[in-house]
């Protein structure tokens, strides 16, 4: 069908995006060779470790147990910190840690790991256990793979080692290592209950604030089956049969592109990269799915659905657009989300005057460039001070960033909308864009900005007038 509307800045939608050869060595995934994963700078670094990244990817497998092998802090400081929602099982919200002590570290923690796995299997009967390496267990050379393998055989449930200790690199690398673990130990080990000719996997969508449900609803309306959720609100079993999908969509997550790429070469599943932020991107993504499923009837249905939704949305958005038009925003998110959120903001009439490209690959930067105007400032790196400077210099009205920077913005009395992991509002899909518009208006219009910027009455007067 040639009636497809080109989504702005996106390459020909008839062609799945896959430009360069996948570079195994680079961080994230398809990062261009010119820009390898930079070493974090001591004294200037921010952001999580690979273990963190691996957890982010796998924790949304809600019915599995996630056991952290190491001293307690890696688990203790991180459990229950993600806004990934579950529609049922909650075992993944339990914090499990082998909690190694001094002695365990001297004499080895493998025995403790084995006992821990047995205990969890016995008491919680999970369908699978993921075991995460951390710096210390990697440093002392624990053979986690062997312990997992042995336990798996003995207990009759998959026990999956995830080898992404913090010190191997960034959060992004951790995402990718988690993807590797899925590919090596999970995908292809099960079969769906019934065959689905129109099944699609979503890769790299974590159901933050329930966004997955929004997307699933749209897919259902179009008659597309969501075969495996990798991994938002997933059950372990559904990931085992991910190889039976007819198409993969990588949702705003470069790091898991490697997973899609390898599923293509191993199982012949085509993939594309897309986003659900903004109506245009949503429409594009649904169309791309229909196209890859290669079903004419489906394509027509998607067209009807997206047209109806877009019309309704543009009607509902009218009052918000009036307020938001011409407003300026500075955007500071992880590398990939930047470009997809820009589209959403543009649709609302907001001008992005500054954008963080800290974690972006050259390709991400290209996509950002396609979506912003020429005088947008790129913020290559640097902490909060740098972002604030941009906000001030470009006279931005609002800052859109991750929760880490929320209170930084509050100190500077800058209206703020949280776009990352910890937020509580779903911005995906057509409904999501409406919600985002409302959130932006509520934040900009809040009386606090006036109150906070006016001094106390006694500070206003120059001197007491006798």
């Amino acid at each position: 069908m040639k009636a497809l509307i080109l989504s702005e800045g996106v390459d020909d939608p008839m062609e799945p995006i896959r430009k360069e050869e996948f570079d195994d060595q680079a961080c994230g995934s398809q990062a261009p060779k010119s820009k390898p994963c930079p070493r974090p700078k001591p004294g200037e670094a921010a952001g999580g470790c690979s273990f963190d990244g691996a957890q982010i990817t796998l924790l949304p497998i809600m019915d599995a147990a996630h056991l952290v092998h190491g001293p307690v802090a890696c688990a203790g400081n991180s459990w229950e910190s993600r806004g990934s929602l579950s529609s049922g099982p909650t075992l993944s919200q339990y914090g499990f840690a082998t909690d190694l002590s001094n002695n365990d570290i001297i004499f080895g923690g493998e025995k403790k790991l084995k006992d821990s796995i047995d205990y969890i299997a016995g008491r919680f009967a999970p369908p699978a256990i993921f075991v995460y390496a951390t710096c210390v267990t990697a440093l002392i050379g624990e053979d986690m793979d062997a312990v997992c393998k042995e336990a798996s055989g003995r207990l009759g449930i998959p026990v999956v080692p995830v080898n992404g200790p913090g010190f191997v690199g960034s959060k992004n690398l951790g995402n990718r290592l988690a993807g590797d673990a899925l590919l090596q130990y999970v995908i292809g080990t099960g079969e769906p209950e019934q065959e689905t000719p129109l099944g699609v996997n979503l890769i790299g969508e974590y159901n933050i604030a329930g966004e997955m449900w929004e997307i699933e609803k749209l897919m259902n309306q179009a008659g597309i089956t969501l075969l495996s959720r990798i991994t938002g609100d997933a059950r372990y079993k559904e990931i085992t049969w991910a190889h039976r999908a007819k198409a993969n969509m990588v949702v705003c997550s470069r790091a898991l592109l490697g997973l899609a790429k390898q599923m293509e070469s191993k199982y012949g599943i085509p993939y594309f990269e897309g986003s659900f932020y903004g109506a245009k991107e949503t429409t594009y993504s649904l169309r791309q799915m229909a196209y890859l499923l290669n079903d004419r009837e489906m394509e027509r249905r998607v067209d009807r659905l997206t047209e109806r939704e877009e019309n309704r949305l543009s009607h509902d958005l009218r009052p918000y657009r009036k307020i938001l038009k011409g407003k300026k925003a500075v955007l500071y998110t992880g590398g990939v989300k930047s470009w997809s959120v820009i589209s959403a903001l543009k649709e609302l009439g907001i001008q992005v005057v500054g954008v963080g490209t800290n974690k972006s690959s050259d390709e991400d930067v290209q996509r950002i460039a396609d979506r912003v105007s020429d005088d947008t400032e790129y913020i290559p790196e640097g902490g909060a001070s740098r972002i604030i400077k941009t906000v001030r210099e470009r006279k931005a009205d609002i800052m859109i960033a991750g929760g880490r920077n929320m209170y930084v913005a509050m100190k500077e009395q800058i209206p703020f909308v949280d776009i990352n992991q910890e937020r509580h509002k779903a911005y995906a899909g057509y409904e999501g864009l409406l919600r985002l518009a409302k959130e932006l208006v509520d934040s900009l219009d809040n009386p606090i900005w006036r109150l906070a910027s006016s001094p106390a009455p006694w500070d206003k007067e120059d001197s007491y007038d006798r």
Binding site: R39, P42, S116, C135, E412
Partner: protein, 442 residues
């Protein structure tokens, strides 16, 4: 009485927060400070995120960003780079190097590295020290107190005091334990100064993490005790420590400078408050200010009103060691049955308690506290409280399910009253919910 452990190979729903986070927290109470965590990125990113979530404030912290090869070859090169970057970019007054399990297991000697760094760069005027806080020992509490101890050591060195000094008998150094909120520290400062003393809190999170706009955002800490006040604190005539974990830093001051000290182990409830006020009255000769006499009346009246609510009730608490001592003595006064007390690690204070204490996790609290009406713990205990049908009272660290918890006051008469009302209200609400659901089911 005794410290017990349930036999279980794995920690389920950890109560323990790493030591290094305690170190980072202590540094937040100093003005223009920067803790540098000597470890991999995650070891500073996780605590930063967690502290931000609890205090709803930006948190100053940096990392030496170790990667695998750095650990194996030369971890200190990273540290040097980190110190250089922090010094040239932010010019902090105070730097605290916090060693992690990673540097500990790898056997990195950053203490002597720091010493030679200071010598070579001729670093004067500022304060730079290091602590070793691997997360497989101790807990948040010990990390906090060890850091304060190291800070004090460095102050004494810096001032070059050898026993002799000008003692200011009207000045008191407060050493508030890690379980006290900024609101608590503020209350304690007010109480002590209301008896006519100059007070220097070390560290002082009451002015750094209590929420203020001051001069906007800074990558360094804003508020907190400034370095010159810290140095001045060495002239204090007395040290008052809150929480047994702060006894060691107090003893440091005593051993080096001869400053006498007093430790208040419990800070919650009528009896604990009475002790504090009586002590202050005695050492100052000043009558207890009238507002505190009123507060005492208010507390007693509130306890009378609430005793119907608490009669026959039982509670389980899972908190850091010093905190559990305090909370336990408050529960005692309310006549609440203490089904179980769970803490993150064993300390002398805990071992000397008159009740059994379990060292364990939140799962232990859930199991041992089954049937309890009230579960007192960080926000991590919320889900467990729901599972056993208990009301949940957020306390300790981290709390993310209520606004302004960092300003809660638990110390003094006012604090005891606030807690009593809050706990009573939670129980009342739970009762109402039960009633409602039983009506619906009929």
């Amino acid at each position: 009485m005794t410290v017990k452990r349930r036999s279980k190979p794995v920690s389920v729903n950890p109560l323990k927060i790493g030591q290094s986070l305690g170190g980072i927290l202590a540094m937040q109470g100093c003005y223009r400070a920067m803790p540098i965590v000597h470890g991999s990125q995650g070891c500073s990113a996780f605590p930063k995120a967690l502290l931000t979530r609890h205090f709803r404030e930006p948190i100053a912290v940096q990392t030496s960003a170790l990667q695998e090869m750095d650990v194996i070859f030369d971890a200190n090169r990273n540290l040097e780079e980190a110190i250089n970057a922090v010094l040239s970019k932010h010019r902090p007054d105070i730097i605290g190097i916090i060693g992690t399990e990673l540097t500990d297991v790898a056997g990195v000697d950053y203490q002597s590295m720091l010493k030679s760094y200071k010598r070579e760069r001729n670093m004067r005027g500022g304060l730079a020290f290091s602590v070793t806080l691997p997360d497989f020992r101790g807990s948040l509490e010990s990390g906090f107190s060890v850091t304060v101890e190291a800070m004090i050591d460095e102050l004494i060195q810096q001032a070059g005091l050898r026993g002799q000094r000008n003692v200011n008998s009207r000045q008191i150094t407060l050493l508030p334990g890690s379980y006290l909120t900024p609101g608590d520290v503020m209350e304690l400062k007010e109480i002590v100064s209301s008896f006519g003393f100059e007070v220097i809190a070390l560290p002082d999170i009451s002015t750094s993490l209590s929420g203020h706009l001051l001069t906007g955002f800074s990558p360094l800490t804003r508020g907190g005790v400034p370095l010159d006040s810290m140095l001045q604190s060495l002239q204090s005539g007395l040290t008052i420590a809150f929480g047994s974990s702060m006894e060691r830093p107090a003893r440091r001051l005593h051993n080096a400078l001869g400053t006498p000290y007093k430790v208040f182990q419990s800070t919650m409830g009528l009896k604990a408050s009475d002790e504090l006020f009586h002590f202050l009255h005695q050492i100052s000769g000043v009558p207890v200010p009238i507002r505190y006499c009123w507060q005492r009346e208010n507390l007693l009246d509130c306890m009378l009103d609430a005793h119907f609510q608490f009669a026959g009730m039982s509670a389980v608490a899972a908190l850091e060691p010093d905190h559990i001592c305090s909370v336990s003595s408050w529960l005692e006064e309310l006549g609440v049955e203490q089904k179980a007390l769970v803490t993150s690690c064993e300390t002398t204070a805990v071992a000397e308690m008159e009740r059994d204490v379990w060292v364990g996790d939140l799962d232990d609290a859930e199991v041992l506290g089954s049937g309890a009406d009230l579960l007192i713990s960080s926000s991590h205990g919320m889900a467990g409280a729901e599972r056993i049908g208990a009301a949940h009272l957020p306390a300790g660290f981290p709390i993310w399910n209520e606004l302004g918890s960092y300003m809660n006051v638990s110390v003094g008469y006012r604090g005891a009253m606030e807690w009593t009302n809050k706990a009573g209200n939670q129980l009342m609400r739970r009762e109402a919910e039960h009633r409602e659901s039983s009506i619906r089911h009929r």
